[in-house]
């Protein structure tokens, strides 16, 4: 079954216990669906309903429809500097 690899960072990686999770394409019709899928995983409830999501390193909104080959990433609030 095709899947979308999702990169997790910092607190989100801690919450889900992984820095990369494969989400079945069927659960990732949109970014909102993909986030719902992740939030239903063990530890995922603390991820916000509308996290910062980047696709191919650019921010997308929750209506974006991931395609195979996309690099999807969930980014906690940035804290550099």
């Amino acid at each position: 079954m095709p899947s979308i690899p999702v990169l997790l960072f910092a607190r989100y990686a801690d919450l889900l216990g992984a820095s990369r999770i494969e989400v079945p394409l069927s659960a990732a019709a949109t970014v909102a669906d993909l986030v719902r899928h992740l939030r239903a995983l063990p530890g995922g409830a603390a991820i916000p309903e509308r996290p910062f999501v980047a696709v191919n390193m650019a921010q997308v909104d929750e209506g974006y429809r991931p395609e195979p080959g996309d690099e999807v990433a969930l980014l906690p609030p940035m804290a550099g500097g």
Binding site: A10, R11, A54, A73, M78, A79, G80, G81
Partner: protein, 151 residues
């Protein structure tokens, strides 16, 4: 890991040299150093991590924006991994003909870095607890689950 992200100590003097030139009379530099306290708690250690490829891209965008907006050359380094208290986490140097543009560009870059570059900071406190720093949270912190710290 690139020229912007580094796991080694950052030398502000080297960055100042990098943006210096015979026609640049003003160089502004900012050093963001690791403090020994945060949100009222004593910080004993901390660790920066990044979405490296995106951080590189975002940082390069910010530098290009600054150099397009002001007649300056700008250099930026951000440290990753464990950083000792007092060490520089981020250093920016902006060199231009005059000080106005140097200060403006330097300030622009640090503000945008904090806003747009995917870098995260995990702090460990004197009481043994740890937290992810979250500038958007009321407390500024997200305690790390299971560390026994205050929630």
């Amino acid at each position: 890991m690139t020229t912007i992200l580094t796991r080694d100590p950052i030398d502000p003097g080297a960055l100042i040299t990098l943006v210096s030139a015979p026609d640049r009379g003003g160089i502004a530099c900012f050093v963001g150093a690791v403090r020994n306290h945060h949100a009222g708690r004593a910080v004993v250690a901390l660790d920066y991590s990044a979405y490296d490829a995106m951080a590189d891209r975002a940082a390069a965008d910010i530098l290009a924006e600054a150099e397009a907006r002001w007649p300056v050359a700008v250099a930026l380094r951000h440290r990753l991994g464990p950083v000792p208290i007092g060490d520089a986490a981020v250093v920016i140097a902006a060199g231009g003909g005059h000080r106005d543009e140097a200060f403006a560009a330097c300030r622009y870059v640090i503000e945008e870095v904090k806003r747009r570059v995917p870098i995260w900071k995990r702090e460990r406190y004197a009481d043994g607890t740890e937290a992810w720093v979250d500038p958007t949270a009321t407390s500024g912190l997200h305690p790390v689950a299971g560390d026994g710290g205050p929630s």
